[in-house]
Symmetry: C2
Subunit: 297 residues, 2 copies
């Protein structure tokens, strides 16, 4: 794989583009892959999504996303398992070897969609039990994913999202959750936005490499002040406070040789045409990430 | 110490009150202590501050705060050391056995005051080196603090503040920074707002107890949505997502028998008269914290 082709454009970075538009923009800019979200796959169907990506000469680096596994009720659990089985089938159909999992927040606080958040008074606050349920649901889903040739990839989210989006908050915790399973079954993603602050990041990346579990490296920057909606507060690589040279070297030294996906949620970055955003993203990748991907021989 | 008297009112929770007003409100509500901020101490002078607290029949549970230790330049380092030596003297004068340290963020991004934040483009992004400088500055200050009978207390701040307020992001990291020093010289604070999400919280609290380093237990709640200024996004205990029963039991089981300080930054909570806020804070403490402070015999 040439160095340039390791760049992947996550479709959430060009949120207003269809899959065809996003894929076209990525191919023209020089990306080697796209990382589609399920909404963009579902609106054309997984089979056609696979053709769109293939005909653009690209690969699907991953599918975003499964997860939201923290329900307590039997109906809630079954609904989550059903939805994740569909996501696994979609990943297999588009040829995405990895399905990213955002595991969900505290029950009732968890907001998979964009709707208003639940009242805290209705929330179950038992974080320990919620995390244990996540482990149980992963165990439920691993055989199905294995049968479809799809790896479940656990994403640690920044602790700012621990209440409402993901009770997996560190890379080390994601690795602990993955540990009962083979590396080919459950991997982890290193997303700079979510893990850059972690004092245990370097050993966690080393461990992930040793265990063969680094399934994806995602990049975007931590910018301040936070946006009113913190979910959409991410910046272009180089615009914020993250030390991409250092983290990228750690990921490379851990043996990761796969795609580097840029995934940015930010209203201002969504506004320009997809081609313009794609070009900016690739430029930032070439400046701040690519030079640090090769380890010295 | 009776159970009720373990409650301490941090003066930041009644931000608009003078030290005298805050102390009066705390005493009337039934608190056993106040945790003053330096601004409220400095405006009357440390000697008078000590009298105000003593005449109200209260103790100073801690002084907030020293720190902001991440400067690179010799002048910046000397200014930080000077300011912290003054803070140590103030803590000694008011009889606060503990001086809370917020260590500061990345240089140039760090905003000790309320002023506008620096441009990210000017920031030094080397988090590893920044953390190493914090360790060096603590070593510089320990002898002076020891000579004044004041313990330096490291506060891990939520990772949301890693860029601009504190590069110490977990309790475990705070303990690692404290480890070169005696427990009487450098302790840690367990602040629920900052550490509630941490998957390693329970073992970190156990370690802190075993090492004799739990110097303070601070409480306030994680509420959503975040305020426009995330610093002021904290909620009354019980209004958010934190499991106070569980964390309080962990702290009690670790042997902590000191004050429980409520420290809330929130424009809406600052608006009512200090007496009203103090009464609410004590009510929440009695409901959500106090019942879990006693470990079974």
């Amino acid at each position: 794989m040439s160095a340039a082709s390791r760049a992947s454009l996550n479709t959430a970075t060009v949120k207003h583009a269809t899959l065809e538009e996003a894929t076209q923009a990525a191919a023209e800019a020089g990306f080697g892959a796209v990382g589609p979200w399920r909404d963009r796959v579902q609106e054309v169907g997984a089979a056609k999504a696979a053709r769109i990506i293939e005909e653009a000469g690209l690969r699907a680096s991953s599918l975003c996303r499964g997860g939201f596994l923290t329900a307590i009720s039997p109906e809630g659990i079954e609904a989550a398992l059903d939805d994740n089985r569909r996501a696994i089938e979609e990943a297999a159909t588009i040829g995405a070897p990895e399905l990213i999992f955002v595991v969900g927040g505290l029950p009732a606080a968890s907001a998979p969609g964009a709707g208003p958040r639940a009242d805290a008074s209705a929330a179950d606050r038992d974080l320990v039990a919620t995390r244990a349920r996540v482990a149980d649901r992963i165990a439920d889903l691993v055989p199905f994913a294995r049968d479809h040739g799809v790896r479940i990839v656990l994403e640690a989210l920044h602790p700012i999202f621990a209440a409402d989006r993901a009770v997996v908050s560190t890379l080390g915790q994601a690795l602990d959750l993955a540990s009962p399973f083979a590396a080919a079954e459950v991997g982890v993603v290193v997303d700079t936005y979510h893990v850059w602050w972690d004092p245990e990041l370097r050993p966690a990346i080393e461990r992930a490499g040793t265990e063969g579990r680094i399934a994806s490296y995602q990049v975007c920057d931590w910018v301040l002040p936070l946006a009113a909606e913190p979910l959409n507060s991410r910046g272009h690589v180089g615009d914020g406070y993250i030390d991409f040279a250092t983290i990228t070297r750690w990921v490379a030294d851990a043996g990761y040789a796969g795609y580097v996906e840029t995934e940015i949620f930010n209203e201002e970055i969504w506004a320009p045409p997809a081609a313009e955003t794609a070009a900016t993203v690739l430029d930032r990748y070439r400046t701040h990430v690519e030079p640090f991907l090769s380890t010295p021989k």
